[in-house]
Assembly symmetry: D2
Homo-oligomer: 374 residues x 4
């Protein structure tokens, strides 16, 4: 059986999610190659070794530069902090490796552009982990929209709100620093909903008008010294959108949305129907259509089942529910199939670059108080 060997950089939240999915994917899908957990890197060599055992990697290293050079690594999987994506990806590309990176691709559109150019000139395959678009319910939403079931689109509303920094007493960390995170909620969470807006509608965002705000401008230092430091990026942001077809919409993103844990949600309105989705109820999609007698119309709850994209591989029985990690399993399937078949991967670096351009445009719009074209 053909294999595809993964070198994973990073052992945090996303590193573990990738490891789980790499192991689970072949049980769920019939893959053209079996992903192998080959090499795990972490800055802390001992931690890397311990985590390698825990997560089931064959080898470990304390030096990511060794990993990207390792001849037994086919795919470099970057789950390190955002500000390291560029350097790692460029090194991996230079070594001729395929690159699977977490989002956002880069801290700025300029950096992202450089990464796109490198990947395309070398010809390696790339995929960026906007995993929420793999969710069965969201794939279904795209299908329904593309099929015309809800008519012509007239409005898109999206948000990705969480509350991990809602408490003003939460200390400064890498999220709050420009050099490590770039923008704040906008890059961390907003990137998902901006990508989602284009994925769902099948249209391009052409113009944005943005507003950002840092609500808690100073936070305690994480060192416990009792001192305070400055928050360098946005706590939340909102933007009006105009797509290339003329469709309008808006997005919101926040890391201080008290009560929201996984608040990616969208409402897509068409001339003959509407869709409403909330990732906190990730296995259901609300659909309204203007069909049948008026007195029998209403938003209906579609529970995801085997008729819907990718669900049947997990269970033949409807309504049994997918979880967060299942999205990553689907992503791994797409990655493996794409690499083996040579078919396009979505979203690749070029597509993820668009997200960085939208983020930058929203920031520019905020600064200049005017619409900005992407």
């Amino acid at each position: 059986m053909k294999t595809l060997k993964f070198g994973l950089i990073g052992t945090g939240f996303m590193g573990k999610a990738h490891a789980i999915a790499l192991k689970a994917a072949p049980g769920v899908f019939s893959l053209p190659a079996i992903p192998v957990c080959e090499l795990l890197a972490d800055v802390d060599e001992a931690a890397a070794a311990r985590k390698a055992t825990e997560l089931g990697f064959a080898r470990s290293t304390g030096d990511w530069r060794m990993l990207v050079q390792d001849p037994d690594v086919d795919v470099v999987d970057i789950c390190a902090p955002n500000f390291l994506h560029k350097e790692m990806a460029l090194a991996a590309i230079a070594a001729g490796k395929h690159v699977y990176a977490e989002k956002p691709l880069a801290l700025s559109a300029t950096d992202a552009a450089e990464m796109v150019a490198a990947a395309e000139s070398v010809g390696v395959r790339t995929l960026v982990g906007f995993n929420y678009i793999r969710n069965s319910a969201t794939q279904l939403a795209r299908e329904i929209i593309a099929s015309g079931e809800i008519g012509e689109l007239v409005h898109f509303r999206g948000r990705h709100n969480e509350d991990y920094l809602a408490d003003p007493a939460s200390p400064l960390d890498w999220h709050t620093r420009r050099t490590t995170a770039g923008s704040g909620a906008l890059g961390d969470l907003g990137s998902h909903i901006l990508n989602m807006a284009e994925y769902l509608t099948g249209q391009r965002v052409e113009e944005v008008f943005g507003q950002l705000q840092t609500v808690t401008t100073r936070r305690p230092l994480a060192d416990g010294s009792g001192g305070f430091g400055t928050v360098e990026n946005d706590d939340h942001a909102q933007a009006l959108l105009r797509f290339d077809s003329g469709l309008i919409g808006n997005i919101e993103t926040s890391r201080i949305a008290t009560g929201r844990k996984m608040g990616l949600a969208y409402t897509v309105t068409g001339t003959r129907g509407s869709l409403v989705f909330d990732q906190e109820r990730m296995s259901e999609l609300q659909l309204y259509t203007s069909e049948g007698p008026e007195g029998r119309r209403g938003f209906r709850t579609l529970l995801i089942g085997p008729e819907h994209p990718d669900y049947a591989a997990f269970s033949p029985a409807p309504g049994h529910g997918l979880g967060y990690n299942d999205q990553k399993i689907i992503e791994i399937r797409d990655l493996v199939e794409g690499i083996v078949s040579g078919h396009p991967l979505y979203p690749d670096f070029r597509e993820a670059w668009r997200v960085n351009r939208m983020i930058d445009a929203i920031e520019t719009s905020h600064a200049e108080g005017r619409w900005i074209r992407i």
Copy 2:
């Protein structure tokens, strides 16, 4: 028992809602004066007579100018189409009558300003029918916000979306003409959510950035001729907001939001909690607070009951539910008490004028592509 005699102009949807509430209010509340259905006006004299019997008015007339002059009318209640509000209100004020008018107050801020000046110079009392702010759940939301239970506000999101013109084949009518309606969804529905934004937060909207769109630019003529005419105002609109405290937010309004029947909804986020409300479930309010252990936090559904504003007058038992007309009964109570006591009425013409100014500012912003101060 003291009475307050009402002269009602208009026998349509809102005319009937006012009539129902005028009759029901004294059964629900102990009022300082009993509202009396004295005189009903409609352009069609026969219809006025028939409706007067139906709705329980003592007398009727085909001429609203007679009504505003009638010595036995204490309050002129204007439920006629929006474009007539100004002329009727000015005549009523000139005759020294108190004026109770439906929203939006006027087709433009300039007209509204004239009405405010007239009312204030004569000294009559005025109230504008933004009835959704009377709903027990929404009064509760305001109470919770004002008490600081959810901390400092960090974000306001509101919408008032319906779908009465979602079908592109729906014909032109008074809603779609500039001269009869002024703006489209923005004036008809957006006026509610703009007023709500200030009511709930207790803050003033200071700056807006707006975007309007007419999605269906041509619609069939209502005469059945097969011809088409031009839609003259917005099908939907959205705006970013900045309040005087620095709070930011956004609003949406639409008459083409397929599937939404009574889609007034808001989410108010604070540093220590959040509120979520949807008028389609008008007797419940979702409250999240950052209290207690993390594992026991969640949005809770408060069913409106006797502990909440104005509910006990309708029922001593919790969760039994209020309806749309009950909001109007509360509005009538406020009107009668305000007139008899001389206490301030909210929202009076001056307050409703603000709504017209916000509407105009959103239109200007759209035209000029920049933030506009109110």
Copy 3:
């Protein structure tokens, strides 16, 4: 205009609800006779007088026996405690008055049978206030079931749970005494869901198997003496049902269902669809049908609107919501129309007697541990 003069006995919760509805009904519906609030009785003569002013009754009395004899009273409206229903109704019937009584009709089936016999021999009209069956959403449910839209019925599940005695420290009151209330939750709340079971299905409950329980067997005396007394009836009850068609189902009722405020709810399952309703969201009905492609099926939320029974009289706009008191307004409409037209009233004393028989059968079944036929 023809009138119908009401003599109302009782000034508590239900008395006020009746008064509100009597006043509001002619504004909502075109009635063949105007209900008039003629005479109000309360054991406390002063309270009767004060309440008469408040609720808008022309006259008052401290003696309900005078009221039932009063020549100017056409309809005796009984909102007094349950144990008085029989005596009052028999007196009213003897005086030739129509009788409108709150539920449950009587403390036992034997008493109810006597009341039925009296009313039928004299020929007066009767109506019992099972108001929840008037709710527009529930009328719609019956329509959908009767039309065959959800196929043949296969199961009925109903409950009416509240929590007014959930706190074990709540004192003894009339609810907890056999002589004043008869059964406990079963009579007070279960009566609604038993009536609902037959109303919705259009079938007769033929056999029941019941289980009752008094969870808090002793409660504080209401006199504040610090003493305790015995609770004499059920805190909650549940029963299995067999209808005459062979349909099976179950009901639950409770006054100690912590968290439930207005927990009347039902699920009706058919071979081709299902309905789910919860009175806490009284203006919506969930409908599932086995139509269309499998991947597009789901429970849909029907928001009550003008296409549905009786809604249009309250509002021409869909989704605006009805409240508890609106059910009573519909009940008054049915009462007035029935009396004027001579058409059947539902549920009349005979029908309400069935409910008492079901209650008694559930108690007998509990005592004997076997199925009991109605």
Copy 4:
């Protein structure tokens, strides 16, 4: 690293779910032994071989008797149809293997008793796959109940309803035959909710009163001959329960509950709070407590997060959602830990035997029309 070698019998729905979980578990949890997919059996030898490749098993066989004897198999994992459980389990036990079996354990309590005796005399470890009790939200429910947070329990309501045979035209299959399935919905789905009732409450069901019904008594033969055959077991069932503490409750189960896909749901009511759960929204639990001011009480939606049982191993971020297969991963963790540590496994054969006894008692009760003790 220590391993535990699995021999899996059955390649259908549950076989695949087990395979996915066996592979994924070591990525999610730090296990004391790594489960190894050693040997896969299916009656069809070729299918076994193909599936072994697909699901990642080292070897395959067409003869389950070989599997249970295989010296390299530590645990026999039985995902074959219910009627084979007994024979397979007895053979595996005789071979000294630990047994992990799907539910229901057996077709009757008598068979189950024999299996318990065999396992206990040999001393092998057993676990039965009532996987829904592993769901994080349900583990949380048990924790809340056990801690006394909702006071003394007063009522349990549970159901497990699906609609896989709702269509009367669905043909006969193994579910509908007594010899292959034993009871119908009651054994297939009701077994889950009966186990759940004891798991959640920590109490024993002592007495049941049951009612079963076969709604569609004849169904088409599966051979496409156009002929019809008899359905031999229940389409749905309901029962009243009495627990050993005196607590009462009821359960429902159905395979014809049109619209329900994964309708395992429960409501547990206590003197100071209540819990409501629905597996169709498996990552949330509704909690009501009688704490704080009355006007701030309501059912709150707890989104499962890292503070709750077993969630953190899947994700450090709250609200990201678990899926059906994640329950099986937790079950595998419990199985591996239990076998390695020697600690008790729940529910083992003895515990699952109770479920069979409850099922049999419900059938007996139905036949005899009286309460039956377990």
